[in-house]
């Protein structure tokens, strides 16, 4: 390959796109007719180019529900909005929160036990989930979490074709709660009402009208702690 080949090869794709001026295209064609190496290369590049032109987006049928704006907005710190009167208590609260966060993080678990699994979704080895109590969802900024609670009720949403499990901290208290959404119910043994479960997945806030609740969506795995 000489220096001319080197520079002309950068024009191959624009040439195949029809984006070269006639003079440039003519010079390239003349070179291709006389250079076996470049002539062979452009045949392969043309085949790859023609295939790649059919490359389209993986969505929408491969897409899970995309995060709502509120979920991202909620993670954004906005101390400048606080009035001076609120700022000091807020800072103290943040400091206290940080202490709690450090304590929680030190308990961060990696899911490796497959005992008691009821969902068929695999957890990728080594991926960490931050433990989060149900009452902590409101101020949570982590997305990949593991939470524990009692199954308050279970229902199947025909329209969305998802199984919803309402999880509470104590069976006597309907609040706080979190809704766990399971999209792939194949091979799923539905956990019984009242059983204690550990749920792995993505923490989200569902801001749709009539909802406005915290959820684990999608659920990546569920372990039943007592049956």
């Amino acid at each position: 390959m000489n220096i001319l080949c080197f520079f002309l090869r950068r024009k191959f794709v624009p040439y195949l796109d029809g984006g070269l001026r006639p003079g440039q295209a003519g010079r390239l064609e003349k070179h291709l007719a006389g250079c076996r190496e470049c002539g062979g290369l452009i045949v392969r590049i043309r085949a790859g180019h023609q295939a790649a032109r059919r490359f389209d987006r993986l969505s929408p049928d491969a897409s899970p529900r995309l995060p709502e704006f509120e979920e991202i907005w909620a993670r954004r710190p906005s101390p400048s909005r606080l009035s001076p009167a609120l700022a000091v208590p807020a800072l103290l609260a943040v400091a206290a929160g940080l202490v709690m966060l450090v304590a929680v993080s030190s308990r961060t678990m990696t899911s490796h036990s497959r005992e008691g699994l009821v969902a068929s979704h695999d957890i990728q080895a080594g991926r960490e989930f931050t433990p989060l109590a149900i009452r902590e969802f409101a101020m949570n900024s982590r997305s990949r979490i593991v939470t524990e609670g009692f199954v308050h009720n279970v229902y199947y949403d025909e329209q969305e074709r998802t199984l919803h499990i309402k999880l509470v901290e104590g069976l006597q208290d309907p609040e706080p709660f979190v809704i766990c959404e399971i999209r792939d119910v194949r091979g799923l043994t539905i956990p019984q009402q009242g059983s204690r479960v550990r749920v792995y997945g993505m923490a989200r806030f569902d801001a749709q009208p009539g909802r406005g609740w915290n959820e684990v969506n999608p659920v990546m795995n569920i372990a039943v702690l007592n049956r």
Binding site: R10, R44, A47, G48, A52, P64, G126, S143
Partner: protein
């Protein structure tokens, strides 16, 4: 007397966002959520990881907007964050090990003999599989050029390299793709 030129709507939007206007952020998210999602999903392959990354991209974009200097279009800047997030994610966690069936759902035919099938759907799925097999640097140029329809200049700004480098990377990606798509070798 200077003529009053109406401001570029994107500039107005970004300036409003920089003042902390929630509606402006919402509009930015609404505009770029889908395109960023498709790039991130194509780069990492796994919808769950892509969801994580999408959140981080916009979290970082919102946080970094005060430092946005209008040297590039907003989408170039956001794509650049997205691309860096994907690269860092893959560096940290390695390539996704999610089976293609999980990404493509029912569209995917596990029988690789279907590459030679007449159906355009199977050809498209084989193509998606081949693109996913490309090394990251090749995959990203294919995604940006063919999926997002970006120019060499735009790609070069997003990738932070000269357009000549983009061109030669694209050539390498396309020859690799040609090899992967050959019926006899595309199944490896």
């Amino acid at each position: 007397m200077a003529r009053v030129v109406p401001d570029d709507p994107e500039k107005v939007l970004v300036q409003a966002a920089r003042r902390g206007d929630e509606e402006a952020f919402r509009e930015i998210y609404r505009t770029y959520r889908e395109p960023v999602w498709s790039v991130v999903l194509s780069l990492v392959g796994d919808p769950l990881q892509a969801q994580d990354i999408l959140q981080n991209v916009f979290f970082k974009a919102f946080r970094g907007l005060p430092r946005f200097r209008f040297r590039s279009a907003l989408f170039t800047w956001i794509y650049r964050i997205a691309r860096n997030e994907c690269r860092n994610h893959l560096r940290k966690h390695g390539p996704s090990v999610v089976p293609l069936e999980d990404i493509l759902g029912s569209r995917y035919e596990a029988d690789t003999a279907s590459v030679a099938d007449d159906g355009s759907r199977n050809r498209r799925d084989a193509l998606t599989g081949a693109v996913m097999q490309l090394p990251f640097k090749m995959r990203e140029v294919v995604v940006l050029k063919y999926q997002e329809d970006l120019s060499y200049d735009e790609m070069s700004r997003i990738l932070g390299c000269p357009s000549g480098t983009v061109a030669s990377r694209l050539n390498r990606a396309l020859t690799e793709l040609e090899t992967l798509m050959r019926p006899s070798e595309g199944t490896r």
